[in-house]
Symmetry: C2
Subunit: 411 residues, 2 copies
Amino acid sequence: MKFSVIAIGDELLIGQVTDTNTGEIARRFGEIGWEVADALVIADDAEAITAAIDRAFRATDVVLMTGGLGPTKDDITKQTLLRYFGGEMVFDESVLANIENVFERRGLTLNELTRRQAEVPSSCKVIQNEVGTAPIMWFEKDGKVLVSMPGVPFEMRAALEKVVPQLEARFPNDLIIIRRTLLVTDITESALAQRLEEWEASLPTFAHLAYLPQPGLIRLRLDCHICENEANEANRLFDEMKALVGENMLFDDDKPLEAILLAELKRRGLTVATAESCTGGNIAHRITTIAGSSEAFVGGIVAYSNKVKISQLGVNTDTLNEYGAVSIAVVEEMASGACRHLGADCAMATSGIAGPGGGTDEKPVGTVCMTVAVNGHVESATYRFPGNRERVIDRATSTAIISLIKELRKQ
Amino acid sequence: MKFSVIAIGDELLIGQVTDTNTGEIARRFGEIGWEVADALVIADDAEAITAAIDRAFRATDVVLMTGGLGPTKDDITKQTLLRYFGGEMVFDESVLANIENVFERRGLTLNELTRRQAEVPSSCKVIQNEVGTAPIMWFEKDGKVLVSMPGVPFEMRAALEKVVPQLEARFPNDLIIIRRTLLVTDITESALAQRLEEWEASLPTFAHLAYLPQPGLIRLRLDCHICENEANEANRLFDEMKALVGENMLFDDDKPLEAILLAELKRRGLTVATAESCTGGNIAHRITTIAGSSEAFVGGIVAYSNKVKISQLGVNTDTLNEYGAVSIAVVEEMASGACRHLGADCAMATSGIAGPGGGTDEKPVGTVCMTVAVNGHVESATYRFPGNRERVIDRATSTAIISLIKELRKQ
């Protein structure tokens, strides 16, 4: 089953806000085997909204729409849907009661503008948005369905949990998608493609292979569009792919690197600490986005200044003077200092030049020294990462996590 | 001048990768007053690509396209553009030389698949992609222009720096957009809208107001589409808006919170450190994404375990036992410990329950205790943030930064 997505908001088109809702919708519907045909971002503009719905209904039977439902003047989606689907604007008591609840929970008082959010077109079925004030609206026309959801990401996510089962019941479906991903390291995209070329050419038409490079990693994804009882066939192809990727496989599922690391640590009953200079806390941040990370992650030191490297990690002043802050000698002392001072079995340490300033001929922007330590054994390397500050930080973070995963597996 | 954006990639439609290129394009072109009419995300599918170009050329004279240019089989954009614009596939020596350069810099060896990236349709003008292997391609047809750029974000960003000036020269333009943003705090979106209602209704037609709520903050944006010599009129409206927002204004430009904080610190010659429990390094990470942050940021402690709170921040065991880790007493000791141990004038400290587990009746998920310290003076508060783990971390991070900005301004 294919469907269309329309995201509404001037802020998305001028790049002030990044649309993460479309991806969220795609992932959630992917779980029931539904696919996004295409996704359109348009302005808060009645004509654009009307044209977008016309276009989407020509292509698919279901349209998921996000945004443009706020109480302020710039949000005109509800008025436009009223004109498109007909009926009149009516006051919905159940929506008002919900808005009052939301406001009470937030300790706020209701004003006239917010009360108006309880007005909905009589042509829609209301689905209550329990975490926000803009109601979810379900419209039908000539057997086609449009669902309008709020654009605030956490409200949209909550809305999906109600909308997906209702759409699934409305459009029962036979074909499913089995989607499996391998995380692949230490090989370029083109070298990997060459290795898989012959196998890829022999794939049945229901199977499709995609290469998704990201910093330090390629995600290799196999999609099979099949009936539920043919799942074995998909698994067989996936096993073949795994065998071909061989030693370059880091993990056989699409999981965040930090979740893989935490699982490896927990399996071994080990704890970890971080000692970060150029990554500035991003390694610790990425690890702690995972629920339950506190079981293995004890804490970290963001040692941005040399003074902090010395006082908090016990880095030797002589080492700093002799080799400079961006050196293998310093990151090794940072890593062992992190284990010792924070009482952890393992550590990751980084020091580098994220840019744009600070580069030299010998150590240009992008140079990052890195150590991973496991039970006193250290492994270090110097990298030269391409790209801007953000990219260097991101790449160094991923590389540190990948390195520690590999080191743990060697033990 | 309006233009269309088309992003190509199955990975975008299944939500495996979030499209950040469209926002990047919008922001860069916004600087020269160009606007995105709409943005479409489509699959790696020849028919979808062809239909999308047809549609975009009906609406606008310029189409910016990203993605689908990799060396692997799933990337079919180049072949599709060849069929659309005509000509034949030719081998371009300048592109090969560039690819060889890129591979040499990365210490990799070229293979046949990568060599094929030097093939381009004879109907396009090549713009060299100096940071990657997929060339930028400029096509023209009936006075309309399509530019195909690589989808890898840092390559796309580099491509833009070449493409924007060339498009600006090709389509000279009179009208400009003056876009000004206020950062507004401590008021709900609807209360702010009520305050501005009358003024907003009186705005001239060339001016448009937008409300962009984000965690702990509303970005209030005024867009004026005017001639260059009418800039004064836009400035006058902006000043009126500022006066109406009054004390709720945090900043009069669309700048990241962490950049505003760093500027306030540098102006006062103060340094800052972080002591993070529930935010897990995210405050330090956000600060260090800003180039030059090392001038004010000395470092931080991610004190995830109580042991680290005690050993690295000098938190008293009795305080932990008596009040619990999530308490004002503990975050105040964390903040003063961070100043003392890391040698900083200011600090931000957080401790809370990000969830999904760990909540109690008294301290439910979302409870965050926070202290900001400036030269020994501390301000503390307990918050209850809504939403999931990611949102609680994000909201607590922004609130800590906003609180310190406000505290600095009081001094």
